[in-house]
Symmetry: C2
Subunit: 338 residues, 2 copies
Amino acid sequence: MIDLSSAAAFDRALASMPSADPAAAGAARARQQQLTKPPGSLGRLEDLAIFLAGWQGRERPSMDTARAVIFAGNHGVAAQGVSAFPAEVTAQMVANFAAGGAAINALTGAIGMRLEVIALDLDRPTRDFTTGPAMDADECQAALMQGAATVTPDTDLLLLGEMGIANSTAAAALCLRSFGGTAAEWSGPGTGLDRHGVSHKSAVIARAIALHGDAPATPFETLRRVGGRELAAIAGAVVAARHAGVPVLLDGFICCSAIAPLAAVAPGIVDHCIAGHCSAEPGHARLLERLRLEPLLRLDMRLGEGSGAAVAAAVLRSALAAHNGMATFAEAGIAGGA
Amino acid sequence: MIDLSSAAAFDRALASMPSADPAAAGAARARQQQLTKPPGSLGRLEDLAIFLAGWQGRERPSMDTARAVIFAGNHGVAAQGVSAFPAEVTAQMVANFAAGGAAINALTGAIGMRLEVIALDLDRPTRDFTTGPAMDADECQAALMQGAATVTPDTDLLLLGEMGIANSTAAAALCLRSFGGTAAEWSGPGTGLDRHGVSHKSAVIARAIALHGDAPATPFETLRRVGGRELAAIAGAVVAARHAGVPVLLDGFICCSAIAPLAAVAPGIVDHCIAGHCSAEPGHARLLERLRLEPLLRLDMRLGEGSGAAVAAAVLRSALAAHNGMATFAEAGIAGGA
């Protein structure tokens, strides 16, 4: 397990990131050329299989031990009236996850993927970051490490998601501090704000960014000041997964925003990540562009809780079924192979 | 079973098409509003569930009896050198389907969907349509009815696909005769032609269209003159499915081209159809626009044999898992429901 026990260790982990296994990726690429289809004709399915082969270090990758991990947190900034839902819905939805009634339960269930939900101190919301840092250093550190601790090297794919009323406000603040632009560009309706609500949210975000303007622009400081526990946990999980050679499947705007501060200083952090989808939240397309990730699906989803990534996981399963299950031209005795 | 036993009966079937069940669609729409998520936040997944509810006539649609049916045919126009693969590959791939080694086997297997392959007189290719009609009326009629015969009312979703060396040339000719434009606009690399190959293919298509220019512009005549057996079978299956209330999941350019002649006179023919994906074959995006179908996936696939639709079927399964499996706000005891 990579050491993430201090802000300096976190920086070091970002500065020396391992690569995929080129031999395994090459073997998978060669296999795709031999399968009974015109070369390249499975398009992105071929790329996905080769990507997973590289990160899993074997010609025929699997999703047998794939896991969805959903982090939940509560946000002090909810007091600013930035969400269409009251803050107690975070805990109610965590109970719904436990009872098996949420979208992510149904979606992971449909593909037989394990689901774990990690609620991070829901009774202790972060502080309202329009008046000070959301977390102190110990709190942020603990959340990072709780995220990292969910990564085990025997996981063949890690799907990440989140739940947290008001966390699209934190997400927008993370993006704005990481990539610049205006608060309005990163603000959207989230779970369902109207035009006035979005405009108010945007003003709240602008205020927060002004307050923290003089703080050091490090990933840790950005996560600590305008992030949240579930966002720091996702960042920790993504870094730990990279060092454990575990490919990551990212969900929507909020999930992806957790790595914005990391990507701003270490753009290669996304190399082991797949963007499961592009959400309807307007900031997501902009963020994916900054992260240089091409989303797999565009289904106008905007729920979070890992739901878009879980639909994408069904597509990954199809990609691996073709890669691992198809006959080669030689096996099938077919002319060509172009 | 709707009567498709003559060209006139086919026209009648196109002139009086049943609609989806508005009560079932309405009940599904109401259910989506009550599930534990912000209304609309599952985006296209919600639309898909409501669509299937309407056509299956029940609030909670299923895919328990979903079937993939792949039609294969051989084409006289292959003699014009319009494909990167030799004509015998059609039969070899049908053998590969039977042996379970093709992409469609792996992709339907991954989601537990039944697969049937129907080879249509492979030893008797259609005639080269640059010198005369591809089929006589009896041959075209027989293919239409073989397609229609695959539809049973207990099928909850019918996935259609095709295999046939040179059939992207027939597909382009069907589109050109149905929707106009130029041969070049509808011609693409198919299984892997280079620039010169595409240009030659485009000239072959232009020649064919000129030859059949004076023929009546009816769906039957277009399918008969520049189509093929597997294409007429798909057209027959789509019409029969409509009259049996069976929703259809369409594959790529060639599969969709089979309904171009129908849509040119009866645009509502697509109302029970889902475009599974937009393929990399350039004519497909143009065709989907003409058909007014918004594709579910864009994965740069260009294999045919139902493969893109089979990946889309995995997404449909996710949509139904959420629709049927999630708790309502009342069941979960959650605040809001906005």
